[in-house]
Each structure stands twice: as structure tokens, then as C-alpha cells.
């Protein structure tokens, strides 16, 4: 892999509580890289720390958050950079698309103005040219009658249209990396596919790397090259998508894949992972998944490292070599 656009080392995130209360650790020991133009899926169930991780990359966490480790984005450590430095990176190098397009846009400004504002921060253009650029950006994300939409307010657009506007806004400065945090969860199923297709196509055309934060493994399978699985604030597996789908190395990844209703052979029964995620202050000392893991043995009570399993894969399971786990599919269709 050439020099990665994003290099996250030993990231840990906690939230400091009220005075006297211990800080709440949410994420720990997160290390991963994203190459230029690469599309990576970050998956896991609600509350596993994937959204917090995404927000930390842009330093968008609230003031109570405590970040440890390094987040190197194009040579700048986002965890330690000054507020102004971080601000200059936002929009230009890294952009974000949020889950709720309904509430992510400012209701009292036209969508054109909101996109222009992002452009203006990094480029000074004459008014007419600026307007043309924004309309072009709206057209690029497939908004019909872009010149008319330019002067409309968010409440005049549908959910799908608003998400397209968010994408246009994120792309206007051609950033190196876009974080998309559940970009389609709030949308109709038919629109979801369109938005994912659009994001994939634009990533290919512009060479922008994408980090998809999602719990929808189908989306990851279709759009990403690599899949990082998080569980209880840790990365448990990092593998090329195809490999992860066919032969996951971590029992949790396997459990997630087998929980997909679509792939269930037995009708009328859902496969699921028994038990629940431990609370942040009551994490097991060893493997955090062990209490729910069907393959857990005594040795799993020891702390687990995220270790390499082959050149391109990493897994946080001591038994990865001896287990042969079910994936979602027997083999990847060509």
C-alpha cells in the first residue's frame, strides 16, 4: 500500500464524567490505515464505538471527550493539532456525511449557500463563478434542475435529495477522505441503493477515500474493499471484504455475518448472537467477546492483541488459527 491518507495509531477515546466520577472509556487500542482512494467499511452493532471513532477523526467530539493516540491525516495529527489547523483540514482534506439528512442541514439557509460556504473557505471565486461551481456540484450528485434547487431551502427537498446535497457539500473541495456515518439509515430502501451507488461512483471518479460507518453488512459487501469490525470499543477484525465474508477469523464477525436474515437457510428462524455487549465500566479483562462466544476457552480470559493473520488481515482472537468459522457466503461470486 502506498502512503496511507489516514493512519490511526492506538486511538483511545473516553468521556470525562462529573467531578469525582471516573472517565468513561468508549474506544481503546484502535489502529488502522486507509489508503488513498480506498473504501473501507467500519461495522459493528450500536454502541460499539464506530461513530465516536468517526467523529474523532474530524475532532468533532464534544469537549468532554479525551482522545489518546495518533490520528495522522495527510501528515497532520488531528488528535493534537491546534483548533485552527483542524479547521483548515476540515472540508479540504476530510469531510463527513451524517446519518440524518433531515437535521444535518441548516434550515434557514438555501442549500446553494450552504455548499458555497464550504467552497468559499478554501477558494475565493467571483460570485457568478462560485454559483456555477455549486450548481455543477449539485448536478454531479444527480439533483435534477440544479439551478432551481440551488436557491431552495432544505425543507423543500426530500430526504434523498438532502443527502445528495450533503454529499455535494462534502465533495465540493475534493477532500482526500470522506467519512460517511450511516449515510443511508434514515432513507427509504430504494433511495439507499441510489445513494450508495452515487458515493461509490464519485469515490472512483474523484479518487476520494471513503470510510463507511454502518451496521449494514450488505452495503459493505457491495461497496467496500476492506471491512473493519468493531466490538465493545475495540477492533476485532480487519480484512479484505471478500475474505471476511467467506471466512471470517473472529467469532464476532462470523456471528454478525450469520445474523443476516437474508442468508439464513432455515426459514422462520433468525440466527443471533446471544447475550449483550458489556457496559464500558464492566469490560472483561480478557477477550471482550468471550462471555458471548461459543468458542471461548480458558485462554480467552487473557488480554487479546490485535495481531496479523497474513499480510492483509488482522484479528483479535487467540484461537483464530484453529477455528474454522462460517461466513455469509461460501464463495464470492466473480
Amino acid at each position: 500500500m502506498s502512503a496511507p491518507i489516514l493512519d490511526v495509531q492506538d486511538l483511545s477515546i473516553g468521556f470525562s464524567g462529573r467531578r469525582g466520577q471516573p472517565a468513561l472509556p468508549i474506544v481503546r487500542d484502535v489502529t488502522f490505515r486507509i489508503g488513498r482512494g480506498e473504501r473501507v467499511g467500519l461495522v459493528g452493532e450500536s454502541g460499539c464505538g464506530k461513530s465516536v471513532t468517526g467523529l474523532s477523526l474530524m475532532r468533532l467530539l464534544p469537549g468532554t471527550a479525551r482522545i489518546g493516540g495518533r490520528i495522522t491525516l495527510d501528515g497532520v495529527d488531528m488528535a493534537r493539532a491546534s483548533r485552527n489547523e483542524v479547521r483548515r483540514m476540515r472540508g479540504k482534506k476530510i469531510a463527513m456525511i451524517f446519518q440524518e439528512p433531515m437535521s444535518a442541514l441548516d434550515p434557514v439557509f438555501t442549500v446553494g449557500e450552504q455548499i458555497a460556504e464550504a467552497l468559499r473557505l478554501h477558494e475565493t471565486l467571483p460570485r457568478a463563478e462560485e454559483r456555477a461551481r455549486v450548481i455543477e456540484a449539485l448536478a454531479e450528485v444527480g439533483i435534477p434542475a440544479p439551478a432551481k434547487r440551488h436557491d431552495e431551502y432544505p425543507h423543500q427537498l426530500s430526504g434523498g435529495m438532502r443527502q445528495r446535497v450533503m454529499i455535494a457539500m462534502a465533495l465540493i473541495n475534493r477532500p482526500d477522505l470522506i467519512i460517511a456515518d450511516e449515510p443511508t439509515t434514515a432513507l427509504d430502501v430504494t433511495i439507499q441503493a441510489q445513494i450508495m451507488e452515487l458515493l461509490t461512483r464519485l469515490s472512483e471518479e474523484t479518487g476520494t477515500a471513503l470510510l463507511f460507518i454502518t451496521h449494514d453488512l450488505g452495503v459493505v459487501a457491495e461497496t467496500c474493499q476492506r471491512m473493519i469490525t468493531m466490538y465493545a470499543g475495540e477492533i476485532v477484525e480487519d480484512a479484505p471484504v471478500d475474505a471476511a465474508l467467506v471466512s471470517p477469523l473472529h467469532p464476532y464477525t462470523s456471528g454478525l455475518l450469520r445474523s443476516l436474515p437474508h442468508f439464513n437457510k432455515e426459514k422462520g428462524r433468525f440466527a443471533y448472537i446471544p447475550g449483550r455487549v458489556p457496559a464500558p465500566l464492566a469490560m472483561p479483562e480478557g477477550c471482550r467477546f468471550a462471555p458471548r462466544c461459543p468458542h471461548a476457552v480458558e485462554v480467552c480470559g487473557r488480554p487479546q492483541e490485535l495481531r496479523f493473520a497474513g499480510a492483509e488481515r488482522r484479528v483479535r482472537c487467540i484461537r483464530a488459527d484453529e477455528l474454522s468459522l462460517d461466513g455469509a457466503v461460501a464463495e464470492v461470486p466473480a
Binding site: 479547521r87 476540515r90 442541514l105 434550515p107 434557514v108 473557505l121
Partner: protein, 319 residues
């Protein structure tokens, strides 16, 4: 300038204003009549005979049934005739034309002060929410709301007009004749009136700003890389402008009412003083005329506010 929807709204509001005006003037009229004392006795002078008082009553139509008296007044008022003061004989319209601009001037001055001081304070408190500046502004605004404005007025007179003669203690200069003099004379009354205005504006602005600053679309603004000052001033202010407008319009109406007391303290020849004096002397045509103008002003302020809502927030359509 106005679209058809706005025109329709304007027409409807004017029609709605009629019963409000009738009700307001009628209740004030009846309240005046309930008060003990009689303008005829005042007019007749000392040691007047009962016959003389009766005669004066008859001349001024004060012996007729109350409803007839009111009806006559209302009928004339509709035609623009607010009749004359029972005491001075001056046309009420002339009196009002002389004193109303003075009151309006002080009210506008006070509102301007409330905005110019209150808005930056509210922004500061919201930007440093939970910090020292925030707490100071909030404590200050609690004090500002709690202190009665006539008391502030008297303290100001003692401190800035009597002890150190920076501002004049009483009196007024018409803004038409001498603008800088008018500002000079109106400063203390305006400050006394603005104390609660500043408090109100900063407090309301802060709380609505804190709310929008934490909202999801403000996270988007941060993600875009916008500097905090532009997030606060441009997006913050525009997002809370509807709330702010509501606060200010209520403030205008309240300040208008508060001038009644403050004008007496500063001896300003305005609506407040006129109403107080006319009421004491049961000079009901003057009171009626003044109340009519006050109610009209409030209705106009409310109407302008409603029209501005749709300009400030595109989501509000004119119904």
C-alpha cells in the same frame, strides 16, 4: 412589495383590530367612570354651587347615560375627532401629536440599547456556555429583570444627575428640534427602561442559541470547517432570529407600558405623563385618546412582527 398572501393577512389583521380597539377603549372608559371624583367639580372651581356643577355636567354631556357618552365618543373617534380636553380645551389629537413622538423616541432608544447591549452579551454567554462569562451575564440579567425600572430610574437620577451632573435629571427636548439634545435628555429614561430589556434579550438569546449550537446542523457547520465566529454570528443569529424577534416585539409593548411610570420620574412630556395627569383629573377624552394610540401602536408592532417572521424563517409560510 407584499405578496397576495401578505396583503390578505394585512387586511384580516386590520379587521381584527377593530373589536380590540373598541374593547380596550370601552373598558378604560368604564374604569374611569368607576373612579370616585368628577371632572365637573374640578371645572366648576372652588366653592361652586350644586347648580353650577350640574350645569357644567350638562354642557359637557356628562349627565347622559354612560353608553351614550361612550357611543358618542367612539362615533367621533372613527371620524378622526378625538374631541377636546375637558380641562384645557386643547384638541386631543393636538396633544397626542405633541407628546406621542417623545414617548416613541424614548421607547425606540431603549429598545435600541436593549438590542445593541443585549445581543452581544447573549452571544458571549452562549459561546462560553457554562463558563465564567456565561454565569456573569446570567446573574446580571436576573438582577436586571428583578429590579423595578422606576427604582433604577431614581437611582440613575441620584447617581448620574444629582451627585455627578453628567446627565440632566428631568425634562425633555423634542428630537425634531434638537436631535443631540434629545438624545442627551432621553439617555437616563432610556437606560432605566433598557435595564430589563438588556436582561431579557441576552437571556432569551443565550438559551435559544445554546440549543441550536448543540443541534445536528451545527455539527455539520463545524465539519465544513467554518470558523466559530461565523458559526455563531451568521448561522447562530439567523437560526434564533425568530425567537429574538418575538422577544423584541414583546419588549416594545412592555416598554411602552413602562414609560408611564418612568416618564413621571423624569418629567418627560410624553404619553405616560399625559395619561397619568388626565386620569388624576378624570379628563376622560385625553385618556381615551391616549389609550387608543397606545393600543394602535401595540397592534402595529404585532403586525410588523408577524410579517417579519416569514422573512426571517423560510419555513414559516404566510397563512
Amino acid at each position: 412589495m407584499l405578496n397576495p398572501l401578505q396583503k390578505r393577512m394585512l387586511r384580516r389583521r386590520i379587521v381584527q383590530a377593530v373589536p380590540v380597539l373598541l374593547l380596550a377603549t370601552f373598558s378604560v372608559f368604564m374604569l374611569l367612570k368607576l373612579l370616585p371624583g368628577d371632572v365637573a367639580i374640578t371645572l366648576a372651581g372652588e366653592n361652586a354651587t350644586t347648580e353650577r356643577i350640574e350645569e357644567i355636567r350638562r354642557i359637557n354631556g356628562l349627565d347622559r347615560p354612560l353608553l351614550v357618552q361612550y357611543g358618542q365618543w367612539a362615533l367621533n373617534a372613527v371620524q378622526g375627532d378625538l374631541s377636546e380636553s375637558l380641562l384645557s380645551g386643547e384638541e386631543v389629537t393636538t396633544t397626542l401629536a405633541r407628546v406621542f413622538p417623545n414617548t416613541l423616541f424614548i421607547v425606540c432608544y431603549a429598545i435600541l440599547l436593549s438590542i445593541v447591549i443585549g445581543v452581544p452579551l447573549g452571544l458571549l454567554a452562549a459561546a462560553r456556555s457554562g463558563g465564567l462569562a456565561d454565569r456573569l451575564v446570567m446573574v446580571g440579567s436576573s438582577v436586571g429583570v428583578a429590579l423595578p425600572n422606576f427604582w433604577i430610574a431614581m437611582i440613575l437620577v441620584v447617581a448620574l444627575a444629582l451627585n455627578r451632573q453628567i446627565f440632566p435629571a428631568t425634562g425633555f427636548v423634542s428630537p425634531w428640534q434638537d436631535l443631540s439634545g434629545a438624545i442627551w435628555y432621553a439617555t437616563l429614561p432610556a437606560v432605566a427602561l433598557a435595564a430589563s430589556g438588556v436582561a431579557e434579550v441576552s437571556r432569551q438569546l443565550r438559551s435559544s442559541l445554546v440549543e441550536v449550537l448543540g443541534s445536528q446542523h451545527f455539527r455539520t457547520l463545524h465539519a465544513k470547517g467554518l470558523p466559530f465566529r461565523s458559526i455563531l454570528w451568521r448561522h447562530g443569529l439567523k437560526n434564533v432570529s425568530v425567537n429574538l424577534l418575538t422577544v423584541i416585539s414583546l419588549l416594545v409593548n412592555r416598554t411602552l407600558a413602562a414609560t408611564v411610570v418612568v416618564e413621571v420620574v423624569f418629567a418627560v412630556p410624553g404619553m405616560g405623563n399625559t395619561i397619568v395627569n388626565a386620569t388624576l383629573q378624570r379628563d376622560f377624552p385625553v385618556v381615551q385618546g391616549a389609550v387608543l394610540v397606545m393600543v394602535l401602536t401595540v397592534i402595529t408592532v404585532n403586525l410588523i412582527t408577524d410579517m417579519l417572521y416569514s422573512v426571517l424563517d423560510p419555513r414559516i409560510s404566510q397563512r
